[in-house]
């Protein structure tokens, strides 16, 4: 044998062409249906930058980021509690996850929005008393509903992350005299991040879209802006496509961000 590159005829996989042909045929059907339909794509494009749509977009982004932040904070708390030495503390964490993961988020949103039917005033001793209706605006209800629900999912994700860190890491920190909190914050959680970040990115992508449920409680997010416009001009599909474009833009950006974070938190791990 000489130093020649080995030349071999690759195995032919004819089935992939069949597969591709089927997909292409399906795509043609769908695209033609949309082109033949009475849809004015000019309207779709025109409303992409309409004031109301942009305001909805801003609100969607705002509620998603804030609710995810609330979810992460609650999730970390619940996950740390789930690892507690004390059974009562673990039980509270389990109850929280059970309750908020076990009921539909839309129901939770409606309950928060109608909180005044349960308690009509909220009072903090020394600070004052408010009517629940004034406190729980659509924004507050959406934030509570989406954030607290998200926390239940994040709790499971963070717990898996914490469990993925070798026990020797905790022992080494304890041996050095670090407190439990310091061990968690400086040693365990940073390493757990590698396991936590990918599913959290997934959760945020999901949150961007789930936030559209807040439409049901009068929160002025992206979907609601479209509905408001098409109830006037009856361009239903045009406007639903407008918001779809924006949702795709948001989720694409979120995915890029997720890749970046994944890289950052794999620091020190050899690939």
């Amino acid at each position: 044998m000489k130093d020649e590159a080995l030349k071999a005829v690759p195995v032919r996989h004819h089935s992939r062409w069949v597969f591709l042909a089927l997909i292409a045929a399906g795509a043609v059907l769908v695209v033609r249906a949309f082109l033949d339909a009475d849809i004015d794509y000019g309207v779709t494009r025109q409303f992409l930058t309409a004031d109301n749509v942009l305001r909805g977009l801003g609100n969607t982004l705002l509620i998603s980021v804030l609710a995810q932040a609330v979810g992460i904070a609650l999730g970390v708390g619940a996950a740390v509690m789930a690892g507690s030495r004390f059974g009562e503390v673990r039980a509270v964490s389990a109850l929280y996850v059970w309750l908020f993961r076990g009921t539909p988020v839309l129901v939770q949103l409606l309950l928060w929005y109608n909180l005044s039917l349960v308690v009509d005033t909220v009072s903090i001793p020394g600070l004052g008393t408010w009517a629940t209706n004034d406190l729980v605006t659509p924004f507050v209800a959406a934030l509570l509903g989406l954030g607290i629900n998200e926390g239940a999912y994040m709790a499971e994700i963070v717990r898996a992350g914490i469990n993925s860190v070798d026990k020797g890491q905790t022992e080494a920190s304890q041996a050095l005299g670090l407190s439990r909190a310091q061990t968690m914050r400086r040693v365990v959680l940073p390493q757990a991040m590698r396991v936590i970040v990918p599913p959290t990115g997934n959760q945020f992508v999901s949150m961007l879209k789930t936030s559209s449920l807040a439409y049901a409680i009068q929160y002025g997010e992206l979907l609601q802006s479209a509905v408001r416009i098409y109830t006037n001009n009856l361009m239903i599909v045009e406007l639903l496509l407008t918001v779809s474009v924006w949702y795709l833009v948001l989720t694409t950006i979120a995915t890029v961000l997720q890749r970046y974070l994944e890289k950052r938190y794999s620091k020190g791990v050899q690939r």
Binding site: G168, A175, S179, V187, Q191, Q270
Partner: protein
């Protein structure tokens, strides 16, 4: 039950009396008596499952003992005595006790997301509230001492096992402990890397550090240890000067073990 306790020439740093530890029905330590004097090196050998690692982990309260007394620097570990009663210490107080006790693990347990320098600086900055600048200077000096001066910015995964273990020793020394515990520090190393870690430990012993070493390195024990302790079945079977124990084991169990490892 009395076992011949090595007579400490100076005040003991570690004093164990009848230390017992059980996991469920399995008693791992069945009354350990042991002393390590100031500046002494005590090597603990014994078959696997003899309880030697468990005992070491009791000394800094990574495991809690079920019976007996365990003192470091004259203080009960993990407990406080008052008016004849024993009280559990709070988390904070246990952490304070552990600062006096350095520990080196079989699997290094370096923090993989921090560089070698950051590993060493972490506890001084967090626990002793040292400024980062001071901690970094001391960390550099410690890295020099273990022969890794230029590798401060390397992450653990970029270091060999021997280098990682030397960083781990430097990390423990950064808290300026009065006692160093070594839990089979060379067992996870490739044979050609064992020497560099033992060299660092030898230097440490020569500098007068009090050391309690669980090891399989009989050669190291013979050369460096002041006392050799043979543990089997959760009790100290025999202890004494390493050359004497190794050359003339008095107990049958010691003889049987040594015949397998020597």
């Amino acid at each position: 039950m009395t076992v011949d306790i090595p007579v400490a020439r100076r005040a003991p740093i570690v004093r164990a009396l009848g230390v017992r530890k059980r996991y469920g029905d399995n008693e791992v330590l069945s009354g350990i008596d042991l002393e390590v004097g100031q500046g002494e090196v005590s090597c603990v050998i014994g078959p696997s499952g003899s309880g030697k690692s468990t005992f070491l982990r009791c000394v800094n309260h990574l495991e809690r003992i079920d019976a007996g007394r365990l003192e470091v620097n004259g203080h009960l570990i993990g407990y406080r005595e008052k008016n004849g009663r024993v009280y559990e210490l709070r988390e904070k107080e246990i952490a304070a006790q552990r600062r006096e006790i350095g520990m080196v693990f079989q699997r290094f347990n370096l923090f993989p997301h921090m560089t070698a320098l950051e590993n060493i600086m972490e506890a001084p900055v967090l626990v002793r509230r040292e400024s980062k600048a001071v901690a970094r200077d001391r960390a550099r000096a410690l890295l020099d001492r273990v022969g890794l001066g230029p590798r401060g910015d390397a992450y653990p995964a970029q270091l060999s096992g021997g280098q990682q273990q030397r960083v781990a020793i430097a990390r423990a020394l950064a808290m300026e402990p009065t006692l160093m515990l070594f839990d089979e520090p060379t067992s996870a190393l490739d044979p050609e890397l064992v020497g560099e870690v033992l060299d660092v430990m030898r230097d440490l012993a020569a500098d007068g550090m009090t050391m309690l070493v669980v090891t399989h390195e009989i050669g190291f024990a013979r050369e460096v240890a002041d006392t050799l302790v043979f543990l089997d079945g959760g009790v100290v079977v025999e202890s004494g000067k390493p050359r004497e124990v190794l050359a003339n084991p008095k107990q049958e169990r010691t003889r049987a073990f040594l015949s397998k490892v020597l």
